[in-house]
């Protein structure tokens, strides 16, 4: 399951988008993608801009996201651990990297802040079905972040990326201690 993210990123370019994609798919890399101005890219831009507007207007608590400096295809998001979960009081940074055929393909989402969680590996890769085969083009940054936020409190321990975390999940007190011990917020 851990490799699912990477496999998926290769699928983004498998058909019909040759002209638009000007380089090999980058594995959640933060380099700006060289994207020539085509009709298709314009519509991705447009959608990302409208998502940004909606996010800024919505004022959701516990989640936020904003594009990186000069590339609207790479965003940084933040989620905070929900109340009454072992993650309460912690805050996690994520990176979102949008393919050229977004929203038909999901963005690549990774934890930038280390997260001790059954479905997050040490590199920050997330195993979440809606970011892979269950993706829908009606999802957006907001729903992704809300989904990840709720994944924190309700992990799927049956197919863990982090087996140690999955094993410890049953003991919430110990788990909380572990979260606190490992939590290193990035500046």
């Amino acid at each position: 399951m851990a490799t699912m993210n990477n496999q998926d990123s290769n699928n983004n370019n498998n058909n019909n988008n040759r002209q638009v994609t000007a380089g090999p798919p980058m594995n959640a890399s933060k380099q700006p993608l060289p994207t020539p101005k085509t009709v298709d890219t314009q519509s991705v831009l447009k959608r990302l801009q409208s998502e940004l507007m909606a996010l800024m207007m919505s004022g959701d608590s516990g989640i936020s996201a904003f594009p990186e400096e000069d590339n609207i295809f790479c965003w940084k998001g933040t989620i905070s651990g929900s109340k009454d979960t072992v993650f309460e009081g912690t805050e996690y940074k994520l990176s979102l990297s949008f393919p050229n055929d977004y929203p038909f393909k999901p963005p690549k989402v990774k934890f930038e802040t280390g997260c001790f969680h059954p479905n997050v590996d040490v590199f920050g890769n997330i195993c979440l079905d809606i970011l892979q085969d269950k993706w829908s083009s009606a999802y957006d940054v907001r729903t992704i972040l809300i989904s990840i936020q709720s994944l924190l409190g309700e992990p799927n321990t049956s197919s863990p990326l982090n087996t140690q975390a999955a094993a410890l999940w049953g003991n919430q007190e110990e788990y909380r201690k572990m979260v606190e011990k490992l939590y290193k917020p990035v500046a």
Binding site: N16, K37, S43, L45, Q49, S50, M57, P67, I72, A138
Partner: protein
């Protein structure tokens, strides 16, 4: 690509110039935004589950990207032949932000499924009167009740139907030709302006019919009108 985020603020002020642009502040427009591109739906199409999309967006999702024929919003099964296009009053011209994809031919939007034209209302009632003829006052009773029964009691609806009966009785012509014309709608409320109904641009032929009918029936019209007023102001 320097498609920088820097563009965002600079673009925003342009938006109001285009009424079709989506604006998060505008709650109403949101009801007509495509669930895929989040923009005002182009070639709008609705699924049986009620979700609105641009046809090009939905086509791309169903045929290029999705693993299954699912509604992106609610995952309901989508059968393409059951999609419903939305035909507003807008022009069909291709939008400059056309969603064409290089190398992908997006077929025309599925057409609407059109049930047969509804039968003209009240046709039987009129035909009956026409065939049998009727005593002047005696004939009015049934005609009026038919009008009341089958039309909503709007004033405008009542008057034309009333005069239709009159005209019919006096000219002996079949109602509106052979019924090919779409029922009572085209008659531009002759009752209100039978002096100057040419101004309404009604076809000359029909206008003449009306004229002969009305001149012969003018005493009758007055009675009828009085009858109507009595009914309405009761």
């Amino acid at each position: 690509m320097p498609a920088g985020f820097g563009e965002v603020p600079s673009r925003s002020p342009q938006r109001p110039s285009c009424s079709s642009d989506n604006n998060p502040n505008n709650g109403d427009a949101g009801n007509f935004e495509c669930n895929i591109c989040f923009d005002l739906a182009q070639d709008p199409i609705v699924t049986l589950c009620g979700h609105l999309f641009c046809w090009p967006c939905l086509y791309k999702w169903l045929h290029i990207h999705s693993h299954s024929q699912e509604c992106p919003v609610c995952k309901a099964l989508i059968e393409e032949e059951k999609l419903v296009p939305l035909y507003g009053r807008g022009k069909n011209s291709t939008d400059p932000r056309s969603k064409s994809v290089p190398g992908v031919e997006i077929p025309n939007r599925p057409a609407g499924q059109r049930p047969e034209t509804a039968p003209p209302p009240d046709r039987n009632a009129f035909a009956q009167h026409g065939q049998h003829g009727f005593g002047l006052m005696g004939g009015f009773g049934p005609a009026m009740t038919a009008s009341f029964g089958n039309f909503t009691l709007s004033f405008g609806g009542l008057i034309p139907s009333f005069f239709n009966v009159q005209m019919h009785a006096f000219t002996g012509h079949p109602m509106y030709g052979n019924g090919a014309a779409p029922a009572p709608a085209p008659a531009p409320a002759p009752g209100f302006s039978y002096g100057g109904h040419h101004a309404h641009g009604a076809p000359q032929q029909r206008a003449h019919q009306h004229e002969t009918g009305f001149s012969a029936a003018s005493p009758l019209l007055i009675i009828g009108l009085l009858f109507l007023w009595a009914l309405i102001w009761n």
